[in-house]
């Protein structure tokens, strides 16, 4: 019995992380009807930001040497959390702006610029890495120059790309962005596993014969705070209301004078910041190795969680995430080898039994 409850607690902790990621999937699905497959990789970037902040950017103290610095580390950990969220939010906005928006509104000059550089810089960086190290600056400069030259080329190509409402195009683009982030990550961060050292003092609490881990409690508390904040934003603020309006009927939302592009940007920022927070917390508090494919499995599982709860449904994503975590942890406690398969079994079952998801509705409209 105790073991069961312990497993449940662990499941809820995992579930909170899935829920944080799933919220981003579901919100973006709500406004764009797009499954943003790059979302799991945003979570990965959150973990990397955490790693660099904890090991290089911020003056964290090693607690085994300076136990008195615990308070400083707590403050710095909070700063890191916010930093992960901020950088991921910016990444989310960038992805939306340059990958998805051109598909909706057409390819503009700014898009031509951006993609020109995106193509030119890695190529020259690669060429630079192949030569002696002293010349790398030259190659970087060449990259910038080529980036500018690429612009008319991209603009020419752009004239041949007509904006289309095709969901398939957007979906394929999402997979492309995901691959870009993963492989870009391998290129930039390296494929070797990285670990965030213990930045916070670890404690265990015994209550009613159950063991509570301080790191698990931190994850739960922060997840709860972030979800409460999100709920407030979505229900009571102007951009939140605009999000809900877009999610219900984007054309009607435009008729209200809502700048839909801006609100979609905002939606990506919100979702990405939650994923960033989740990525940092998992990397920092569960001692999992941080690699560029860090977001692949959790991303897919959170996607299943979003579908489970009802794609586009915000409470549904939270519920789906929690169910997912609990089920996974229950299964893993008895049949560890089925741990990763259970998510996809759940996906198949939900698609067969209730494709709209647990809280999703098949809405009929009055005419």
């Amino acid at each position: 019995m105790q073991a069961l409850v312990q497993t449940l607690i662990y499941g809820v902790e995992t579930g909170a992380i899935y829920a944080l990621i799933a919220l981003g999937y579901t919100m973006v699905y709500g406004v764009l009807r797009l499954i943003n497959f790059a979302h799991g990789d945003v979570y990965m970037i959150g973990a990397f930001v955490g790693f660099f902040a904890c090991t290089q950017w911020l003056p964290f103290k090693d607690l085994s040497q300076h136990p008195e610095a615990a308070m400083l580390n707590v403050v710095l950990a909070l700063v890191t959390l916010l930093l992960s969220m901020l950088i991921c939010a910016l990444l989310g906005i960038t992805i939306e702006r340059f990958a998805y928006r051109p598909l909706r509104n057409g390819f503009r000059n700014a898009d031509a610029h951006f993609w020109g550089f995106v193509i030119a810089l890695p190529v020259t960086a690669f060429a630079g890495a192949m030569t002696t190290t002293k010349r790398q600056g030259v190659f970087l400069f060449a990259g910038v120059v080529i980036g500018f030259i690429m612009r008319p080329v991209m603009a020419y190509l752009a004239k041949r790309i007509k904006p289309s409402g095709s969901r398939l195009n957007a979906l394929i683009t999402a997979i492309g962005v995901s691959l870009m982030l993963e492989n870009g990550g391998i290129n930039i961060f390296g494929a070797d596993p990285k670990f965030i050292p213990d930045i916070l003092p670890k404690r265990q609490f015994n209550l009613f014969g159950l063991v509570f881990d301080s790191s698990g409690l931190i994850i739960l508390a922060i997840a709860a705070i972030l979800m409460a904040l999100l709920r407030y934003i979505v229900l009571y603020t102007r951009p939140g209301k605009a999000m809900r309006a877009i999610s219900h009927d984007i054309d009607a939302a435009k008729l209200m004078g809502i700048n839909t592009d801006r609100v979609i940007s905002f939606t990506f920022a919100l979702g990405a910041s939650l994923a960033g927070a989740a990525g940092f917390m998992v990397a920092a508090f569960t001692n999992i190795k941080v690699v560029p494919l860090f977001g692949l499995q959790p991303g897919l599982k959170a996607f299943v969680a979003a579908v489970l709860g009802g794609a586009g449904n915000i409470p549904g994503a939270t519920l789906g995430g929690l169910i997912m975590g609990v089920v996974e942890s229950l299964v893993a406690s008895k049949f560890p080898q089925w741990r990763d398969a259970v998510a996809f079994i759940l996906l198949i079952v939900i698609l067969l039994v209730r494709p709209a998801g647990l809280l999703g509705k098949n809405t009929a409209e009055k005419v």
């Binding site: 102007r238 209301k241 809900r244 219900h248 054309d251 009607a252 209200m256 004078g257 809502i258």
Partner: protein, 235 residues
């Protein structure tokens, strides 16, 4: 006030508007009548910036609407109550009205005042203020859609099929309200299947067929025009 010049609109390869020209003067009620597929709703969608024309122009007080994104068009003073009402079903009546005043979000007092006005115009909405819009009857949803469109204080109001699917006595009410709104100084462009009623409330009318304007005249003349009577008034 509003000048539509030789508007051509396509949905992919399908032509929806084939060179429509329409003018609306300040203070008027102008109606577009025509059968399904004549291009009435497409014209409305183009005016609001939901569809981009392939060629032609829409000028509103000298500004080129066809180049502006939809939200800027609302800010200029044009709002639309779309066909099929399109209320936000999972939000309350009050929230729907608030969204109608989205462009004026900083003017709290004005929004409160406009909401009171909407509730005076449609007392039923006041009774159902906290109810989800999706649970309203068709007529109530129509009132909400019109009330919502008024919240942005439009100078030009676009009404697309406001009487569609309403009980006959409600149709009378809706048209009376359209007259009342017009009397407060709001110019109205009205699209209607109910040509008879539309021509009675309008000053001028345009008859559309397969993406073209085939007749343009004062509403009174159109009402007495034999062709119109046969084709659209069922006589």
């Amino acid at each position: 006030m509003l000048v539509i010049q030789d508007l051509h609109v396509y949905y992919g390869a399908i032509r929806a508007l084939d060179g429509i020209s329409i003018e609306v003067k300040e203070g008027e009620i102008v109606t577009m009548i025509g059968a399904n597929g004549a291009g009435k709703s497409t014209t409305m969608r183009t005016l609001s910036g939901l569809v981009r024309p392939r060629s032609g122009a829409v000028m509103f007080e000298g500004k080129a609407l066809h180049l502006l994104p939809a939200h800027e068009i609302v800010a200029l003073g044009i709002s639309q109550s779309p066909e099929g009402r399109r209320v936000f079903a999972n939000m309350s009546v009050r929230e729907n009205l608030e969204l109608g005043g989205y462009v004026h979000y900083k003017k709290k007092a004005q929004i409160a005042e406009d909401m009171d006005r909407a509730f005076t115009l449609f007392p039923r909405l006041k009774e159902r203020e906290a109810q989800l819009a999706g649970t309203l009857s068709g007529g109530e949803q129509q009132m909400l859609a019109i009330g919502r469109a008024l919240m942005s204080r439009p100078r030009l109001l676009l009404l697309d099929e406001p009487s569609l699917g309403l009980a006959p006595f409600l149709v009378q009410t809706i048209f009376q309200i359209i007259r009342d709104i017009n009397k407060t100084g709001v110019t109205i462009l009205l699209v209607e299947q109910n040509a008879n009623q539309a021509l009675r409330v309008a000053h001028r009318g345009y008859v559309l067929e397969t993406g073209r304007v085939v007749l343009a005249d004062t509403a009174a003349n159109l009402l007495s025009n034999d062709e119109v009577r046969q084709a659209y008034l069922g006589e």
